[in-house]
Symmetry: C2
Subunit: 456 residues, 2 copies
C-alpha cells in the first residue's frame, strides 16, 4: 500500500509529472548516488520575521509508507510515457534515505533548512512535491496562528476556519497547525477526531432565524446544552440580544446552571463588547464571558484590544485558515549535494546554500534567542545548539515522534525565548542569521567552479 493518510488516501501519484520523468532519466542513466535535498523558505512574506515548523510529521509518515500501488502503475502505463522496465522498477521503490529535520513547533528563520533528505537520487527527487506541499501548508498556518497567539496574551483562541479553508485537507491541517501554535481548539469535528483536539461550537444566525423569536432559539439551546451554552446575540441587534441573553441566563440560574458566553459576530466589536459587558455586569452576570468572531486575525484582534474591547476569547477563522495576507511561502526543496559533489543553481535571485547543513542557535545570557548560524553539517560551532535532528535512517524513524501536545508545549516554550521585537505585527526587524566560515568558503568555491564549467 502507498501512503496512508489519516483519511486513507494514497498519495504516491500526488506529485508533479516531472518527478516521474526525471526519475525515468536517472533510472535510464543508472544514476543512483546519494542526493541531498534541502527544504527552506527563501523570503519573509510582508510583516513576517519568524516561522513555526509544522507538517514535518506528515512528511515523515509519507516517506515511511511511500509505495506505488497497482492502479497507480496502471494509470502511468496508460499515459504511454514510460517504459515497462521503469514501471517495474517503480513498483519496488521505497524510501530508504536519511532525514534531518527541525522538531514540530520549532521557530526558524529564512534560508534555514527545515528538512534535509539524503537518499538515492530517484527517491529523494520523487518525494519533492508532497514534502513541499505538506510542510509549507502547516508551517504557513502555524506561523500565522502564532501571531494571534501572541496578540491574545493568554485569551483562549478557537479555530473557526474550516468553511473557507482551501479544501478539506487544509481545513484539517489548519486546525492541527493552529493548535500546535497555541490555539485552544477548533470547531472542526473531524480534526477533533483525527488529532484529538478539543472541539468547540456555538450556533449560527440560521439557527436563530429558523425560530419564530430569537429568545426561543436561546432557550432551546440552553436546555439542550446547559453546560456549554454560548449565545450568538448579533442576529438582529446586539443590545437587544444581550438583554434576551440576560433573561435566559437568569432562567438558567434558576435551574442551577450558568450561561458561559455570549458571542459577537459583527459591527464595531470594541464598542459593542463594552456595551454588552455593561449590560451583563448590570444584571449581575460578571461570570458570563464574551466571545468575538467575524473576520478576526492578529491585526483586528490587536485593534479591538487596543480600543478597549472587552473580549475574553476569540474565534479566528478565514484569515488565519488561508493565511490571508501571505497565502504561500517562497519555499524550495533544492538539490544541495549529489554524490560527493556539492551543487547549486545560479538562476537570478535564487541562490541555494550548498551541501549538507546544520543550523546552530546561540542564546543570550537570559537564555533568549540571540543569533543563528547556518553551517556545514560536519562543522562544530562551540556554544551553538544544533537545531536539526536526525529523525530517519534508511527509511525508518529513529524513534517515536513527539505527540501533538508535546510539540505544542515545545512551541510555547520556544516562543517565550524569542525576543519581543521579532514578534512585532508589522515590519519586524530581521533576526540575525549568518553563514559559517566553512559554508561561506564552499559556497564561493562551488559558484566559481560552475561559472567556469557552464558559462562561456
Amino acid at each position: 500500500m502507498s501512503f496512508i493518510s489519516p483519511l486513507g488516501e494514497r498519495f504516491a501519484l500526488l506529485t508533479d509529472l516531472y518527478q516521474l520523468t526525471m526519475a525515468a532519466c536517472y533510472f535510464e542513466a543508472e544514476m543512483a548516488e546519494e542526493a541531498t535535498f534541502s527544504f527552506f523558505i527563501r523570503k519573509y512574506p510582508p510583516n513576517r520575521g519568524y516561522f513555526v515548523a509544522a507538517g514535518v510529521e506528515e512528511a515523515l509518515n509519507y516517506l515511511e509508507t511511500l509505495r506505488f500501488a497497482e492502479d497507480d502503475l496502471a494509470y502511468l502505463e496508460s499515459t504511454r510515457l514510460f517504459q515497462r522496465k521503469f514501471l517495474d522498477f517503480l513498483k519496488t521503490v521505497r524510501f530508504t534515505g536519511d532525514v534531518h529535520a527541525l522538531p514540530e513547533g520549532s521557530i526558524f528563520f529564512k534560508d534555514e533548512p527545515v528538512i534535509e533528505v539524503s537518499a538515492p537520487v530517484i527517491e529523494a527527487q520523487l518525494v519533492e512535491t508532497f514534502l513541499i506541499n505538506a510542510v509549507s501548508l502547516q508551517t504557513l498556518i502555524a506561523s500565522k496562528a502564532a501571531r494571534s497567539f501572541h496578540v491574545a496574551q493568554g485569551r483562549p483562541l478557537i479555530d473557526f476556519g474550516l468553511r473557507r479553508t482551501q479544501g478539506t485537507d487544509a481545513g484539517l491541517k489548519a486546525a492541527r497547525a493552529s493548535y500546535l501554535a497555541g490555539f485552544l481548539g477548533t470547531s472542526n469535528v473531524l480534526a477533533g477526531k483525527l488529532y484529538g483536539l478539543p472541539i468547540f461550537g456555538t450556533m449560527a444566525h440560521s439557527y436563530i432565524t429558523s425560530f419564530p423569536k430569537e429568545i426561543e432559539a436561546f432557550r432551546t439551546f440552553a436546555q439542550v446544552f446547559p453546560t456549554i451554552t454560548t449565545l450568538l446575540i448579533d442576529t438582529y441587534d446586539n443590545a437587544a440580544g444581550a438583554r434576551k441573553a440576560v433573561q435566559v441566563a437568569r432562567e438558567m440560574e434558576a435551574r442551577g446552571e450558568r450561561l458561559r458566553y455570549v458571542r459577537l459576530d459583527s459591527g464595531d466589536i470594541a464598542a459593542i463588547s463594552r456595551e454588552v459587558r455593561q449590560i451583563l455586569d448590570d444584571a449581575g452576570l460578571k461570570y458570563v464571558k464574551i466571545l468575538a468572531s467575524g473576520g478576526f486575525d492578529e491585526f483586528k484582534m490587536a485593534r479591538v484590544l487596543e480600543a478597549g474591547g472587552q473580549v475574553d476569547s476569540f474565534a479566528v477563522g478565514t484569515k488565519m485558515g488561508v493565511s490571508a495576507d501571505a497565502p504561500y511561502f517562497d519555499c524550495a526543496y533544492k538539490l544541495v549535494k549529489y554524490g560527493n559533489r556539492p551543487v547549486m543553481k545560479l538562476s537570478t535571485g535564487k541562490v541555494t546554500l550548498v551541501d549538507k547543513k546544520q543550523v546552530y542557535r546561540f542564546y543570550d545570557d537570559q537564555g533568549r534567542f540571540h543569533r543563528d548560524v547556518i553551517a556545514l553539517r560536519e562543522e562544530a560551532l562551540p556554544g551553538g545548539a544544533p537545531l536539526l535532528k536526525k529523525v530517519m535512517e534508511q527509511g525508518r524513524l529513529l524513534g517515536p515522534l513527539p505527540t501533538l501536545k508535546e510539540s505544542r508545549d515545545y512551541f510555547i516554550s520556544q516562543f517565550g525565548l524569542l525576543p519581543e521585537p521579532y514578534k512585532a505585527l508589522q515590519d519586524p526587524p530581521s533576526y540575525p542569521v549568518t553563514w559559517s566560515a566553512g559554508l561561506t568558503a564552499l559556497q564561493a568555491r562551488v559558484e566559481r567552479e560552475i561559472l567556469e564549467r557552464e558559462i562561456k
Copy 2:
C-alpha cells in the same frame, strides 16, 4: 457508508461542531419543517468583476452520499455532548432535499445564489460547512484561472501549482478548476488520474544540477522522452542554456526527432525570451517553442506579453493555485426561508436576500450578457433566461451531470458572451445586477416585521 470522495475519504464529520449542536436543538424542539439555504458571494475581491461556478458537482456528490458511520457516531458519543437518542437519529440521517444550482462553468456575479438547498432543517443545516468549503474553493480557483485564460489569448496554460497549494485537496481541486476555466492541463499526476486531465511535465533544476554537466542532463532527457522533450535552460545561464539546447536539438534532428520546448523559469522573461527566440531562430529552430514559468499569474503574463515577450505557453503555479491576491471569498450559506416564513438576519453590513430565488439573465442584441435580475423563484421575468437549474429532488440527482469536458466547453462559450470591459484585470466595472419588484417588496416587508418583533 458516508461520503466517498474520489480518494475514499468519509466527510460526514468534516463540519463545524455547531452544525451538530444546532441539529440536536432542532431535534429536541421537533423542528422538521423545510428550510431553504442560499449560497452566494457577498463581495467582489479587489480587481474581480465576475465569478466562475465550480465545485457544485462535488457538493452534490456529498449530498447524495451523506451518512454518519459507526466510528463517526462513536467519536461523537465520546465527546459526551450528545444524548443517545440524538445519535441514534443521526445514524438515520440522509439528505432528502431539493437543490437548485448553477451548472459548473457558469459565470455569475455577487449576491446571486450559486446553490439553493431546500430540505428538512436539520439536513439543510448539517451540510453547510462542507458545501461552502467545496464550492468556495473551486469557484475561487476557477475565477482566478479564467483571468489567465483571458490574458493568454489562446496560448496553452498548464497548472503547476501543486507543491504550494494549501494542502492535497486544494492541489487536486486547483488542477480540476483551472482546467474547467480553460487551462490545457496540469502537472498533477493524481489529478490526471482522478479527473482524466491531460498531464504535462518538464524537468527541475535539481535534475540539471545532479548531472556533472548541464548538456548531459539535456541529452539524457531527450533520449528517454524524445516526443515530449522540454529543456529547462535557466539553471546556470539562459543564453548558455539555449545554445546547449540548440546542440541537443540538432542531435535530435539527426535521429529524426524534434525538441518541443525550452523552458524559462527566472529573470526578466520578456527580454530573455526574445534573446532565446533569436538564438533558436538563428539556429533554424523556429519550431522549438518557449514555455515560461516562475511566479506567473494573469498580471505577470500581461506584463510579459505587453513587453514583447516571445512566449508560446505559460505554466501557472502558486499564485493561481492559492488565488494569491484573493485567497478567499466573503461567501455565505444563509437561511432564507423556514417553513412558510421568509427570513433574514440584520447584522451590520450583512443583509441576506430572503426566500427561494431565481436569477434571470438578459442578453443584448448580439447575444452578450447585458444584465441580471435576482427574483423570487415563482416570479416570471419575460425575456430573461433562468440560470439556476433544479438538479436534485428528494436527495437524488435528476439526471447525469455534465462531464468536466462539457463544463469546460460551457465555460468557454459563456466567457465569450461576457463583454470585454468586465474582464479587465484591474478595477473592472460592476456588471448590473438588480432585484425584481417581488423580491424588493418582500425584502422590505420582512425587515419591517423583524424590527417590530425583535428590537425594542
